[in-house]
């Protein structure tokens, strides 16, 4: 049997619990728009005591608060975020290349057409010096177009290198912050506290890191571990492992793990993984195709030149100088110095246009690649387009799924102002009721006092 004192202490206890609940609600409202914040719920239970086989109700017991979060969903979001980081990086780099090859009235394709058109025009008046000069200028314009194409592709590679370097610096900073948070969380956990807000901060930083590099997060014997997709440690407990960037002989940025192992080719996901994929697999294939076109086309034109004679009846010489090593597209130059060196004549007579046929036939003859120069260029542009559109559509799909995952996570963890407002009202009412209990007991005591004093 509980007396008035028991009721009073239950009500006082209740006031405390309800204050705690109000505090949780107010904290939730305060963090309603804080990124990464998971809503907290107060843990209350009815306190009871069993004495001599009888249950004695002891009011409410406040057991702290817990953050509502789904770790599995969090990992899925990190995975999708990594994917997004990778695809975004690739998309940006490929869009850059796509813009450079989007010209229909400029660029390699148009320059090829102009060269052949003016060569063809030369056939109607093969000894005209200005028509010859025009062809020579066209050849130079074509070489320039090749240079620009090669430059656009290599610019994408250097942009990728910069992305790798700056993203690694960010990853290192994040891993330090995460390690520091891990230390604090371990301390609060040890003291029986809820890591709550700190865990939210760590999860938020982890997601930021996932945007930069593919990660996997595990827990071994209670120690949280964050590693790259290939298993190189980034954070173990409260210590962080710094990645390094070195520049290889070919000028590309390589990533080394904390032990100094080159893990460039093992990384996937995130800005770093995307930049490396674009730089090391997508872009080289395109650049090889461009170089092959420059070198095979140049060789074909040079061969056609040698079957004819120039305006001074000398045997034709190479039209293009093609570098023996390195990028043919970046290094191709016009070797002829004067329009008179164009080998239009097939027999050495100055008015002959017989060899122009041979030069023009380069346009319609398959190169070593198995296609004509125009078709080879069209296929290169097609491949550039495919690479871009593939990444773009994957990115669109990934964005949709990330959105869905985020919304799912939000439905678990986000603060709902309406919900908190409703809770506030409930807590307030409960608090008022508890306070009323106290004042009622106070009234009873007063009545009792008055009764004992005046009721003799």
């Amino acid at each position: 049997m509980i007396g008035l004192n028991g009721s009073l202490s239950i009500a006082t206890e209740a006031l405390g619990a309800q204050t705690a609940a109000l505090e949780v609600a107010s904290n939730n409202i305060a963090n309603a728009i804080t990124p990464g914040y998971s809503r907290q719920v107060v843990s209350l239970s009815s306190a009871a005591l069993v004495q001599n086989g009888t249950t004695i109700d002891e009011g409410v017991s406040y057991q702290g608060f817990t953050s509502v979060r789904d770790t599995v969903l969090g990992m899925a979001i990190n995975g999708a975020t990594s994917e997004q980081g990778s695809l975004s990086a690739q998309s940006a780099l490929l869009t850059q290349i796509n813009s450079a090859f989007s010209g229909t009235t400029t660029g390699i394709g148009a320059s090829l057409s102009t060269l052949f058109s003016d060569l063809s025009a030369l056939s109607t008046n093969p000894s005209d010096p200005s028509a010859r000069q025009t062809v020579l200028n066209d050849a130079k314009a074509l070489a320039d177009a090749f240079h620009q194409g090669a430059a656009a592709i290599s610019a994408a590679s250097s942009a990728a290198n910069q992305q790798v370097s700056s993203a690694v610096a960010e990853v290192n900073e994040l891993s330090q912050q995460i390690a520091a948070l891990n230390g604090e969380i371990a301390t609060t956990d040890a003291n029986g506290g809820d890591g709550g807000a700190l865990t939210d901060q760590r999860d938020e930083l982890t997601t930021q890191m996932a945007q930069l590099i593919g990660i996997s997060s595990t827990k071994t014997d209670g120690t949280p571990m964050l590693t790259t997709s290939n298993g190189s440690p980034l954070v173990i407990g409260d210590s962080s492992y710094q990645l390094q960037v070195t520049t290889a002989l070919d000028g590309t940025a390589h990533v080394l793990d904390g032990q100094g192992n080159d893990i460039t080719n093992l990384l996937s996901g995130g800005t770093i993984g995307g930049a490396i994929t674009a730089r090391d697999s997508t872009v080289p294939a395109l650049s090889q195709q461009l170089d092959a076109l420059a070198s095979q086309f140049g060789t074909a034109m040079n061969n056609a030149q040698t079957t004819g004679y120039d305006l001074d009846s000398n045997p034709g010489t190479a039209m293009f100088a093609i570098p023996a090593t390195g990028s043919a597209a970046a290094g191709i130059e016009v070797a002829l110095t004067s329009g008179s060196q164009i080998a239009a004549s097939s027999d050495g007579s100055t008015g002959s246009s017989g060899n122009i046929k041979a030069l023009l036939s380069v346009q319609s003859t398959d190169l070593a690649s198995g296609a004509t120069p125009t078709d080879s260029y069209a296929s290169l542009v097609g491949n550039i387009g495919f690479a871009g559109s593939q990444v773009n559509s994957s990115l669109a799909a990934n964005t949709a799924s990330l959105q869905q995952l985020t919304s799912q996570q939000q439905s678990e963890s986000a603060v709902s102002i309406d919900e908190e407002t409703a809770n506030l009202i409930r807590y307030q009412q409960a608090y008022s009721a508890s306070a009323r209990v106290i004042s009622t007991i106070n009234d009873i005591y007063t009545t009792l006092m008055n009764m004992s004093l005046g009721g003799s």
């Binding site: 025009a121 002959s352 542009v381 439905s411 102002i417």
Partner: protein, 297 residues
């Protein structure tokens, strides 16, 4: 089950989506192009480049045709002048072959035929843009020069080369006839027969003059045959050019359908994007401001 309380996130994503659609629709309408980057439609972008190259070829075939046409017409008109001159020489020769002619009269006629010969040579030396039309591929200017050692008084500077010009993927036209084939052809030697007529009128018998006139007639026949080539070139170019202009139209429409915008589709896309956009904005305006707090006054 709890739902995502943050409608703003969903609405923002939706608004971005409809804005993107609006943007794309406006951009396509403004540029008239459906494909602005190869990644918009790689197949179409590649096919468009091939079609553009084909268009460039058609353009150059047309230009070559124009250039060749003016050359052929000029050569043909030179030869037509030669025909007139030869007819005049035949008339003069026939007149000179008349037995009643005195040697003075014949000498006068001989002078006239001599001037016909010079006129024919000047036609044979016709040049366009500094290039002799009847010097083969030698580039020699002029094609015929006076030469006292030659029986005709002129010698040919050119060669027997023939140039061809492409006016179609598989259509190469021979665009010139070498001067020796036209003017000093053994089967109808223009210059030879005219100088033969001059000397027959100067010192020959009536029969010699008659023979010379017959030789000039033979030369006339030869010129007629050579003119056929130029007439053929002119006809072929005219036919080819009307084919090429058809080709240009079909290539242009091909490019339009590959990368261009179908206006009716683009406009209906724009309308749809507009409707979607205003719908989501209206939804946002309705949903976002509502809060339980509004009702707790």
């Amino acid at each position: 089950m709890r739902v995502d309380p943050n409608l703003s996130g969903l609405l923002n994503a939706g608004i971005q989506g409809t804005e993107q659609a609006l943007n794309t629709a406006v951009q396509q309408l403004a540029s008239g192009q459906r494909v602005s980057l190869p990644s918009d439609d790689p197949d179409a972008a590649a096919a468009n480049l091939q079609s553009l190259a084909e268009s460039a070829n058609v353009d150059r075939y047309t230009k070559n045709g124009d250039a060749t046409l003016s050359q052929a017409q000029m050569a043909d008109s030179a030869l037509s002048n030669v025909v007139n001159e030869l007819n005049q020489a035949i008339a003069l020769g026939t007149q000179g072959a008349d037995g009643s002619m005195t040697s003075e009269n014949r000498a006068t006629i001989a002078t006239q035929v001599q001037s016909v010969l010079s006129e024919v040579v000047s036609q044979a030396n016709t040049a366009l843009n500094g290039v002799s039309l009847f010097a083969g591929t030698s580039g020699a200017v002029p094609a015929f020069v006076p030469d006292s050692t030659s029986s005709t008084g002129y010698s040919y500077q050119g060669d027997s080369g023939v140039n061809t010009v492409a006016v179609g993927d598989n259509l190469q036209l021979n665009v010139n006839v070498p001067g020796d084939q036209v003017f000093t052809n053994p089967n109808g030697n223009v210059l030879g027969s005219l100088s033969e007529l001059v000397s027959a009128l100067g010192s020959g018998t009536t029969a010699d003059i008659g023979n010379a006139v017959t030789a000039v007639r033979g030369a006339l026949t030869n010129i007629g045959q050579q003119r056929v080539l130029y007439a053929g070139v002119v006809n072929q170019i005219n036919a080819q050019e009307s084919y090429l202009s058809q080709e240009t139209i079909s290539l242009t429409s091909q490019q339009q359908s590959l990368t261009g915008v179908d206006m009716s589709v683009a406009i209906s896309d724009l309308t749809q994007a507009q409707i979607a956009h205003s719908t989501i904005l209206a939804a946002a305006a309705k949903v976002l401001p509502t809060s339980l707090l509004d009702y707790l006054k």
